[in-house]
Amino acid sequence: MGARTRPGHETGRERSPLEALMAPQALSPVNPVGIVAAAYHLPGERRDIVEWGAEQDIPAQLIETLLANGCRYFYASENESDLDLLAVALDGLAAQSGRQRVASATYVLHAHTQNFSVPPAPTSLLAAVAKAYGMQPRLCFSIEQLACSGTVAAIDWATRLLAADPDAEHALVLTSDRVFGNATYRIYHQSGVQSDGASAILLGKTGTTCRIGPITYRNAPELHMGPSTPANERAIAQTSWLHTKRLFQEHQAAIGFPLAEYGQILPINAYRPNWNLIAKALSVPPERLFLDNIRDRGHACCTDLAMNLVDRGFDVLGQGKPVLYCGRSNIGAYAALTLLPPAMAEQPDRSAPEPVTCEVMQ
């Protein structure tokens, strides 16, 4: 795919696609916000699906299929709660950014995929986090039922809230997921192995390692029941790659930046054959996809974003190249998030924030 350019308005020279994308007017009003730091935690020792499969009586042929699809290692919690997992991720974030900065976040959003992976009602994971860290967020909530694209929605809403609030400096996006059920529940459509894990991402308006760029959603709500029956599972398997491909096409069309020119595309850590098919169909060089963590870490659901950013994305952003994250799910929710290197654009106008209806109790 050839590079598309837009006319430069200052000098008459052609802007590169990246320059055009980075220009303030090309971005949404939420563009002052970026990621300050991120940390993730995968519990326990790394497990090898070959040994684990034998222990769990997983059919050898299925293990062979998983290996052929690029899977190998995963992480599983022994007896940790969601709060335990989150606490390690939060401590990792606090070590980078300072506990006070983390604890003073004005907005705290959480996302998770695994339906059971929360403390029992009427207790609340968010209240437990707030108590453990002495937080008094203006607004907090957990995004659910969007599965592994929920992280992008959490980043999106945190960015909107932060950008509209002149008094707020930081927002936290947390994720946590634990796999429930027997061993077969860890295996994901013969092309993924699910890990337990948690992450903490600090968003801010200054001191950012990257800025939040455009976000595109694509919903296929007819898949809302998830893989609850063999027929639904087939429908998801048959259409999921197509929805993901269309999401990429829609994202590219919306922002005018060619997929092939991203420094790296970070998919969720499953479906390796699928990603390769999509890359081929969209003329994206295969090396542009970051697929190492499908083998090395497994699919930790909503934690994949932080994991792949820490393991690869931040390096690429540090080299001045944008990164694309793609969240997809087996319930019909798909989302693409562009992250932009921070240094290449003039700082956008931070004035005129939206008035905020909701107020915090002092």
């Binding site: 009427p122 609340s124 809403w157 029941m225």
Partner: protein, 356 residues
């Protein structure tokens, strides 16, 4: 900035007798919670395999075994959409809230609502981990919705819960939860043609109690709930002139031991008459049920009802809303929609209009 409701509905199943402190025993629903990984996700006082804890018989609205909380949410949203089919075409945000888990474990209630009723809205999500504060939080998010600048756009906010074992439906001396669903359609600002209520202010708060809901004494919980709700209401009402407060009514969660009346005394507001079963907390649907009661009151009295709605959770989330309910709503099965009116109106007091 205000939000205007153009439709609201509440759906309760029939009251039934239960003799278990836990929710409905549906053997196939939440089995993973009884496995090892479930130890942190089911109440620690419910041992593996236990699906019923004997209690003196009590009544509460309880859904049929086969009806899920997603079914209940879909049913009440369907009522609103049937009453005004053109509204569905304008819904650009779909926000669904729950306290409880999905009985349809692998599914998504918010995407189901989109599939059933709405054409590709810009924002779709389900909100959890807030208990009954989910609806106020969803409303607080609407000014930040992608479609907020579209004056014709509507949002659908729904809430639904079904209490299934191993979760407690009843905690003695503290609360009895009913299965319930509610929904509303919301316009971004002002009181548009056909508006039935205006949400003038929203206050949310997170003050973790640190109390264990199943072990710590009920009176400690009730004290925390009372203090948190009172503080939230008082902060909400700071900009409201004293002489206007005399006309406000108060509605909120139905906890045990007359907590609602105690909160009303503390903040000096007159409680609004409830139309829903006494002694039953309607969980996520509670704030919308309170607003529906406000609209019913405005209808009866043929004048606007200015209402403070509070909700507070044992975990430490709380919210308060200042709402003006209009007398011109039209009754539909399970709720209210707007009558066509000739012009946009603003029934807030001048002081509140300035404050917002």
């Amino acid at each position: 900035m205000t939000l205007a409701l153009t439709a609201i509905g509440v759906r309760l199943p029939p009251s039934r007798v239960s003799a278990s402190f836990l929710g409905a025993a549906i053997s196939s629903a939440y089995l993973p919670l009884y496995a090892k990984a479930g130890a942190h996700s089911r109440p620690h006082t419910v041992r593996r395999g236990v699906m019923s804890l004997s209690s003196p018989p009590y009544e509460a609205p309880i859904l049929d075994q086969a009806e899920s909380c997603e079914d209940a949410a879909s049913a009440i949203v369907g009522e609103l959409v049937s009453a005004d089919p053109s509204a569905a075409l304008r819904v650009r945000s779909v926000l669904h809230v729950q306290c409880t888990l999905n009985q349809q474990v692998l599914g998504s209630a918010c995407l189901r609502l989109v599939h059933s009723y709405f054409k590709q809205p810009a924002d779709v999500l389900a909100i959890g981990q807030l208990g009954t504060v989910g609806v106020p939080t969803a409303l607080a998010l609407l000014p930040h919705a992608r479609s907020h600048d579209d004056a014709a756009a509507l949002a659908c906010v729904s809430a639904s819960d079904k209490w299934v074992a191993p979760f407690y439906r009843r905690i003695p001396g503290l609360v009895t939860y009913g299965d319930a669903a509610a929904a509303c359609l919301v316009a971004p600002a002002g009181l548009p043609r056909g508006g039935i209520a205006v949400i003038e202010r929203i206050m949310t708060s997170c003050q973790p109690s640190g109390l264990d809901p199943w072990v710590d004494p009920a009176d400690r919980h009730l004290d925390h709930l009372h203090d948190h709700a009172r503080d939230c209401i008082e902060t909400l009402l700071r900009p409201v002139p004293t002489d206007e407060r005399r006309h406000l009514r108060l509605a909120g969660d139905d906890y045990a031991e007359g907590l609602g009346a105690r909160v009303a005394r503390s903040v000096g507001l007159e409680p609004l008459a409830r139309s829903f079963p006494a002694g039953v907390h309607l969980a996520s649907a509670s704030p919308l049920a309170a607003i529906a009661d406000g609209i019913a009151s405005a209808q009866r009295e043929r004048s606007a009802c200015r209402l403070v709605v509070w909700t507070a959770t044992m975990a430490g989330h709380a919210a308060a809303l200042l709402v003006t309910c209009e007398p011109s709503a039209r009754r539909i099965p399970g709720g209210w929609v707007g009558q066509d009116t000739d012009e946009t109106t603003d029934r807030r007091s001048p002081a509140m209009a300035d404050a917002c």
